[in-house]
């Protein structure tokens, strides 16, 4: 008989667990708490328990399900809200009320719902793993492609068109019965044909990302920042507005009320392209900070497996993980309970490799069905004390290609998005410059480079201004400070609560860029003619430029024309 011999927080040791294998899911104790075997020493199994272990008793039994920790995949994932181990939160609410009880089970995918299955192959076709068998209209935005399960190949002998439950047989391949429901172990990456290079930006409608530090479809991005800088708001804004097909949003160890905000906002918000509710392309995983720590550790993997499943259907997926630091802390906590030798700041020595493995599951791929699809990962990092030298931030920066550094000083000035333009970087600008120059406007890359150079110059000029005072500086330099201020206040800053400004299309971004560039050019001419910088600073024009982002494109075009006639 199996029996528990040690309990320490989320880590339990048990003797004689049957067929014990690392990675097996087990039911722990009389309540049947969900756990996973993570170590085996002789006849003892070490189990990480995904629920609180209070009241668990020595001697209680452990039952092995002999299955690895898996997600259920199939139609019905979109619009769902799950906990870290893919239990739907609304089903849990029906079962245990407003508070989450223990030992509850709930399947990730609704068994009672019927879907209209339209085959894409016919009897006699030879199919292989990952190929599209047929389609289901999952939501108003997304057509779910039912794939041939992993390891199944051969001739289609039967296929059943029409309305089915997810567990019904919809096709027979060789002798294998196939349903719409599949399971996948969360910790193993799903297979694809090959990784390819990204060539297209992920458009967010937020100027500081698109115009200054762009990412690509299939990119790896990190947003580190101390508390109160708007990490979560940033992530949510990207989830709302970015042009990915599917959003997987993992709230990992964060606030309950923030998830409520997402739950309330997303069904009401409309996709800027199609006008359909954003929730129709979204899967939410909410394992808040007060929910069990081991399930927090699992939540990012659950999210990633779901993201990969939609990628394999040929979609561009964006995965938000808020926050990877909480995930790392969950690892640290479990590692501590296992009495492992600690690495830096108590984090386990495998922190760096786990982070790398996670981010490497992002990227642009050729799927098994030979489609181009991608996963973009955007991970928030919450460095202790806002200190970027701590291990999670540092190990993340080793991997990611885009670094959006949030800045407490900017946030204190209510400069949103509080992205520090001097510290942030994107290694994708070569790719995106090309794309923007062709698809938006030929001067895009030039405007971007000019703007960056100007901001860089501003920071050194400001140092001088601190010493000698602004009035003592040459007129030209005073003017450069003015242009940089306009760049910061009118281009970099964006008002998420303004109806117009919350989403800035690329065409508008280009116009605003052009407006500032024209002002810069014409202003310099005026300065050379002897117009003092502080006169330009007091012009009505400055106010006009400031209002451009809230107004229609026409206003911008008009003002550019006016400025081209010369500034006096």
């Amino acid at each position: 008989m199996s029996s528990i011999i040690k309990i320490s927080g989320p880590v339990v040791r048990a003797k004689n667990v049957q067929h014990s294998k690392v990675g097996d899911v087990v039911k722990v104790g009389n309540l049947g708490l969900l756990g996973e075997i993570i170590e085996i020493v002789k006849d003892e199994s070490v189990i990480q328990v995904y629920e609180e272990t209070d009241g668990l008793n020595i001697g209680e039994k452990v039952v092995n399900t002999r299955l690895p920790l898996s997600v259920e995949l199939g139609p019905g994932l979109l619009t769902s809200v799950y906990d870290g181990v893919q239990r739907p939160l609304d089903v849990l609410k029906q079962k245990s009320g407003n508070f989450i009880g223990r030992g509850l089970t709930a399947p990730g995918i609704d068994r009672e719902k019927k879907w209209d299955f339209k085959p894409k192959v016919k009897v006699g076709d030879v199919v292989s793993s990952g190929q599209v068998l047929g389609e289901v209209k999952e939501t108003s935005l997304i057509t779910h492609r039912v794939l041939v399960p992993h390891g199944v190949n051969g001739k289609v002998t039967k296929i059943f068109k029409g309305s089915h439950f997810v567990e019904d047989t919809i096709a027979v391949i060789g002798k294998e019965k196939v349903s719409m429901l599949q399971k996948w172990p969360v910790k193993s990456p799903r297979p694809y044909l090959k990784k390819t290079t990204s060539s297209e930006p992920l458009i967010t409608g937020q100027r500081v990302y698109d115009a200054f530090f762009p990412t690509v479809k299939g990119g790896q991005c990190a947003i580190p920042g101390p508390f109160g800088c708007g990490k979560t708001v940033t992530q949510q804004a990207i989830a709302k507005w970015c042009d990915a097909d599917i959003i997987v949003y993992v709230g990992c160890g964060e606030r309950g009320n923030e998830m409520t905000e997402v739950l309330r906002d997303f069904p009401e918000l409309k996709d800027p392209k199609s006008g359909k509710p954003l929730m129709d392309r979204t899967v939410l995983i909410a394992n808040t900070s007060n929910m069990p720590v081991a399930a927090r550790e699992a939540s990012v993997y659950t999210g990633m497996a779901i993201a990969e499943y939609y990628r394999d259907q040929g979609y561009h997926v964006a995965l938000m993980a808020d926050s990877t630091s909480r995930w790392a802390e969950a690892m640290r906590e479990i590692s501590g309970r296992l009495e492992e030798m600690p690495g830096e700041e108590g984090y386990p020595a495998y922190l760096a490799s786990r982070l790398a493995q996670f981010y490497e599951r992002a990227g642009m791929v050729k799927t098994l069905a030979k489609k181009d699809a991608s996963i973009t990962v955007i991970g928030a990092v919450s460095p202790a004390g806002g200190d970027f030298s701590e291990p999670v931030t540092q190990n993340t920066l080793k991997i990611v290609k885009v670094f959006w550094a949030l800045d407490a000083k900017l946030a204190a000035k209510r400069h949103y998005w509080a992205i520090n333009w001097l510290r942030s970087y994107s290694l994708y600008t070569d790719i995106t410059d090309k794309w923007f120059n062709i698809n938006v406007g030929k001067n895009w890359s030039m405007y971007r480079e000019n703007a960056m150079a100007l901001l860089q110059k501003e920071s050194s000029l400001l140092e001088i201004a601190q010493l000698v005072g602004k009035d003592a500086m040459p007129e030209k330099e005073q003017f450069i400070l003015l242009v940089a201020r306009i760049l910061r206040e009118d281009l970099l800053q964006q008002n998420a609560f303004d109806e117009v400004d919350k989403y800035c299309p690329l065409s508008k971004q280009y116009l605003l860029f052009e407006a500032v560039d024209t002002f810069h050019e014409e202003g310099l001419k005026a300065i050379e003619k002897g117009v003092p910088a502080n006169k330009i600073e007091r012009m009505k024009l400055i106010e006009h430029i400031g209002r451009l982002k809230y107004g229609p494109d026409e206003d911008v075009k008009k003002l550019i024309k006016v400025m081209k006639r010369g500034i006096q």
Binding site: R13, S289, E333, E339
Partner: protein, 450 residues
């Protein structure tokens, strides 16, 4: 009930028992000493026939012999009843005011996590009557908004002022749960006196673990207090404001136990699981769908060495929905309450239609102007006021007036939100409209220099 006498060791706040059977994780134990004194403990770890028990009262006077330990078969529970208000409890939740207590039921003090899909987004404005809070960091029903303070500042006066002045717009049942962790007798007396004077004591339940009480018991205190708050909120329909003072003392107790268990320490010796532990407390604030009441938390924490990056304020800031920061500098300038709005923040927004339409924009604008003014103040220290432009000088003056007229209001002044807006617009009148970029032209037209 089995009684064990088999103590293996006593170390710090922990005792280890051997040859025990059927002991549950987190179970409550009763320890009886030779002289008849009984202590309470909780199981922290069980391994084969050994159990590690944390003793709340401390292990002073425990020997390996002549001690009897019995296990209750239950995890820690709090007896709750409708009549908890007006009562005083100790740090474990036992009444200490000498009156009888007849619990309606017993609730596990550990609580259970609120299902995120059962939560409602908090958005009901609580008017505290303090300008800086109401306009710039509004307190919302169901929020957890800590006060970050440093030694020697009047944070208790501020907390008492909030508890006294806080009004909700509808006439709902409102009560206070006060949870003291390691505060001094005089601080406790201050709160009780204040509550008594204003008649608030009848609507307050006090859970007291003072500096002189056993420090390990402090780990139970907020849990008991929050369990009472949840009962009052979700079963009795009260809007409960929980004041937790002082979270830094709580964390120190956590560290003490962790060190005694020889756990691998995280930053500054605090345990690696402190984030999770704090989240288990703070996340018990909220508004639940269908419930008449709510739990709002106002934790107070002292930043050791005035350091905001210290683990206690740092982890708290990551969990709570904003923070109110007190500043020594403002205090020395006799600005009361000395709230530094630059570091303060409330993440929650007041729901639409509750306040006048200009509140959000005015708040953003005050922030921006004050931040600029403060930066210039530093600059003046280097280059002198003469080096400033006229535009910059206005900002400098604004920062000064803002502190004296807006932030400063004393601890007994109760300003309505409309009065607060009045002061704000008067101050913004110092600027030309071109400078007020955060406010839309429509709103400027309506209120600027009117």
């Amino acid at each position: 009930m089995k009684v064990y006498k088999s103590l293996e060791s006593v170390k710090g706040p922990l005792v280890v028992l051997e040859n025990v059977t059927g002991v549950a994780y987190k179970e409550i134990a009763k320890i009886t000493l030779k002289n008849g004194r009984t202590l309470t403990g909780q199981v922290l770890e069980v391994h084969n026939d050994k159990a590690v028990v944390q003793v709340f009262e401390g292990t002073q006077g425990i020997s390996l012999k002549d001690v009897k330990v019995s296990f209750s078969g239950e995890t820690a529970k709090l007896g709750v009843s409708k009549k908890m208000l007006g009562r005083v409890f100790d740090g474990k939740g036992e009444p200490i005011d000498g009156l009888a207590h007849y619990p309606d039921k017993f609730l596990d003090i550990q609580g259970e996590p609120i299902n995120p899909s059962a939560r409602i987004q908090p958005e009901q404005f609580i008017q505290t009557g303090i300008s800086t809070i109401d306009l710039l960091t509004p307190l919302i029903r169901g929020q957890k908004l800590p006060i970050f303070t440093v030694n020697g500042l009047p944070h208790n006066k501020l907390a008492a002022q909030i508890a006294r002045q806080a009004t909700v717009l509808d006439k709902a049942k409102f009560s206070v749960v006060f949870c003291a962790m390691g505060i001094s007798q005089s601080e406790k007396d201050f709160f009780i006196e204040t509550f008594k004077e204003t008649g608030a004591l009848a609507n307050t339940a006090l859970f007291l673990n003072l500096a002189s009480d056993p420090s390990v018991e402090r780990i139970m205190t907020p849990r008991a207090a929050l369990t009472a708050a949840e009962y009052l909120a979700y079963e009795q329909g009260h809007h409960v404001l929980v004041i937790l003072s002082d979270m830094t003392n709580y964390c120190e107790s956590l560290r003490e136990v962790s060190a005694a268990r020889q756990e691998v320490p995280g930053r500054r010796g605090y345990p690696g699981y402190m984030y999770t532990d704090l989240a288990l407390l703070y996340e018990r604030a909220g508004v639940i769908e269908g419930a008449k009441g709510s739990v709002t938390q106002l934790p107070i924490l002292t930043m050791p060495g005035d350091d905001k990056t210290h683990p206690v304020p740092d982890l708290t800031g990551y969990i709570t929905e904003g923070q109110i920061i007190l500043s020594r500098e403002l205090y020395k300038k006799s600005i009361m309450p000395p709230i530094n709005i630059l570091g303060s923040l409330s993440r929650l927004k007041v729901g639409k239609g509750q306040l006048r339409d200009d509140c959000g924009a005015v708040a953003d604008q005050l922030y921006a102007c004050y931040a600029t003014g403060r930066e210039l103040r530093d600059l003046v220290a280097v280059v002198g006021e003469g080096a400033l432009t006229d535009r910059e000088r206005v900002y400098l003056d604004f920062a000064e007036s803002f502190e004296k007229q807006f932030v400063h209001q004393t601890f007994d002044k109760n300003r309505t939100i409309m009065q607060t807006l009045g002061v704000a617009w008067k101050l913004l009148g110092m600027f030309e409209r071109t400078e007020l970029k955060k406010i839309s032209p429509k709103i400027l037209e309506k209120y600027h220099k009117q």
